[in-house]
Amino acid sequence: MTNVPELAALYRKMQLIRRVEEEAARAYAQGKIGGFLHLYIGQEAIAVGADAALRPTDYALTTYRDHGLALARGMSARALMAELFGKATGACQGLGGSMHVFDAERRMLGGYGIVGGHLPLATGTAFASKYRGDGGVTICFFGEGSVPIGEFHEAMTLASLWKLPIVFVCENNGYAMGTPIDRVLPVHEVTSHAVSYGIPSDRFVVECVREVVTRIGAAVERARTESTPTLVECLTYRFRGHSMSDPGKYRTSEEVEAHKRRDPLVRARAELVAERGEAAAAAIDAEIEAEVADAVAFSDTSPEPTADVLEPTTYAGPFAR
């Protein structure tokens, strides 16, 4: 069984993600963040619970909705927010932006903007772990919108064929951008695909972060001890639009409100209050407020990257022109 961390630690990370993203949305509206901004609000329990089931040396990759995983892996709010602001002090020197957040040291190997494109990459980091015998596991997150694309199936095929230590986590939030699952997937249970690749699967509704730790933890353990891939389907819901430009007209407010009433963050806090008292939760909230305010101030005052960063980040060696 996977060791489940103290609820306070899990709640702290979930609350950090929520508050960082709420402030990012505000900064976006103020024009401080450009391009696309895809918020993870509502899905925080997945990244936080999954990270708790990993070792710091395990590899993690996800989609463009990547802020949550970056913070869950331990990236500072400063490094993330400054990246969103496009500043030189950002995690990727302001070159990646919201969709491409990397922290190599913490094995946060990116957010990717092409749906499905990072699944083969994740099989590659898992391959490297197996080749080297380093005991590492790779976890790869994606949405149900990735399921129709070929790379999903190629990655599943290779992972199963070569018995790679990887956990595929489908964060099924019901909508591929604005398109509900029943208009794009002929079979709604994503885990049904596991059968055709001969790999184990698990499927559950995400309500409790501690359950995420144990459910994904079981798959991580299987990857680590048996080098067997698993397809995990987390049924979840994003409270905001696909990105900041999406008003979410394809969902009724009743539907969204019903999901918000089952917010895993609210549940985690309620359980924390029940176990440790309101003061303990409030203390965490206050810390997070300070941390987020600091991150925004840091990002506001950080310098812009300069042109001299461009060529050395294009080639490792001499520039090839």
């Binding site: 990397f102 494109g117 083969p120 590659g124 980091t125 990655a155 294009t314 001499p318 090839a320 022109r321």
Partner: protein, 329 residues
């Protein structure tokens, strides 16, 4: 230097074998590279030598195994990906241009992608339009990638070794028609050929034929025929397309004042257009005639042998272009 005569496919194999023996993080994967001994026998014997852990037969899933190799490279391994031909890399295009070429930049320089993609490229013999693409024109466009296209066994050997040791993604464009070409290769395992340095394949003073890969040999043949007609053509083998040896282009044009670019692939855009841009930009005052290009005709490759011959750059078309730039009608 002690030399061994070998075929180009053997030179490629020797480079891979030596690098795999030198560095345990180097491995090879692709379709039919192992048990089948390579679709073009480049990898013959490598499975027996290194075992299935390091010489890996893949399913027909180019995007999957190219992406897997890029993922392994981004955590420090040094994969060699063999596509059966570069044509099939089209279904892995996303992996190469969106991941291999971008990971270093997107990560703000935190990651590197030391990977080699290699395969036969361009036309072969009557294999039709889907199997005759000159894919270097697509890839050389992309910053973050390096593109090399050697024409001799020694360069194939030396440049593949450089590619495997390079910390950036390197795409090696081979030619099926050159795999059996024999040539001298240095016996020294430390011998490498740097990128971005062109080679004068034939000295000449009247016109520069600028080329790479298979077309170098077309140019050499054309130069022989031109010599009989009293035209002394120089043949420049670029070897490396990105980085490109600008100094060699300027030196050649400064000497001959006339240039013809010869390559497989279509005329619209592409490497030839890039070469012409550099020459006119860097050596405008040296030119006595417009730089011409001899390329594929601007149509999909036909199957019919005579029509295929018409589409691929031939000696007679190179000679015609030389006559034009030397105003020798």
């Amino acid at each position: 230097m002690q030399m061994t005569t070998m075929r180009l496919r053997e030179a490629l194999r020797a480079a891979m074998v030596e690098e795999m023996e030198r560095d345990p993080e180097v491995f090879l994967l692709g379709e039919e590279v192992g048990h089948y001994q390579g679709a073009y026998k480049v990898t013959e014997g490598m499975l027996a030598r290194f075992g299935a852990r390091r010489v890996i037969d893949t399913p027909i899933a180019e995007s999957g195994f190219a992406g897997l190799a890029i993922g392994a490279a981004m955590v420090g391994m040094r994969p060699i990906v063999e596509f059966m031909t570069w044509n099939f890399s089209a279904v892995a295009f996303d992996q190469i241009i969106n991941n291999a070429a971008k990971l270093r930049q997107m990560s703000g320089g935190q990651l590197k992608v030391p990977i080699v993609f290699r395969a036969p490229n361009g036309s072969a013999r009557q294999v039709g339009s889907q199997h005759s693409h000159a894919m270097e024109h697509f890839y050389a466009h992309v910053p973050g990638l390096k593109c090399i296209a050697p024409a001799t066994p020694a360069d194939a050997y030396g440049m593949l070794k450089t590619a495997i040791r390079d910390d950036d993604p390197v795409l090696l464009f081979e030619s099926e028609t050159l795999y059996s070409l024999s040539g001298d290769v240095p016996d020294d395992p430390s011998f490498t050929v740097p990128f971005g340095v062109a080679r004068v394949a034939r000295e000449g003073k009247d016109v520069s034929l600028i080329s790479y890969s298979r077309a170098v040999h077309t140019c050499l043949e054309a130069a022989e025929q031109l010599a009989k007609a009293g035209v002394d053509a120089e043949v420049i083998d670029l070897r490396s397309l990105r980085p490109l040896d600008e100094a060699a282009l300027v030196a050649a044009v400064s000497k001959t004042h006339r240039a013809v670019v010869v390559h497989e692939g279509w005329p619209y855009g592409g490497v030839g257009a890039e070469l012409v841009d550099r020459v006119q930009r860097l050596a405008f005052d040296q030119l006595d005639a417009p730089v011409l290009r001899v390329c594929f005709l601007d149509v999909p490759m036909p199957y019919n042998a005579a029509l295929e011959r018409l589409v691929i750059p031939q000696v007679d078309r190179v000679i015609e272009a030389v006559k034009s730039v030397t105003y020798a009608r």
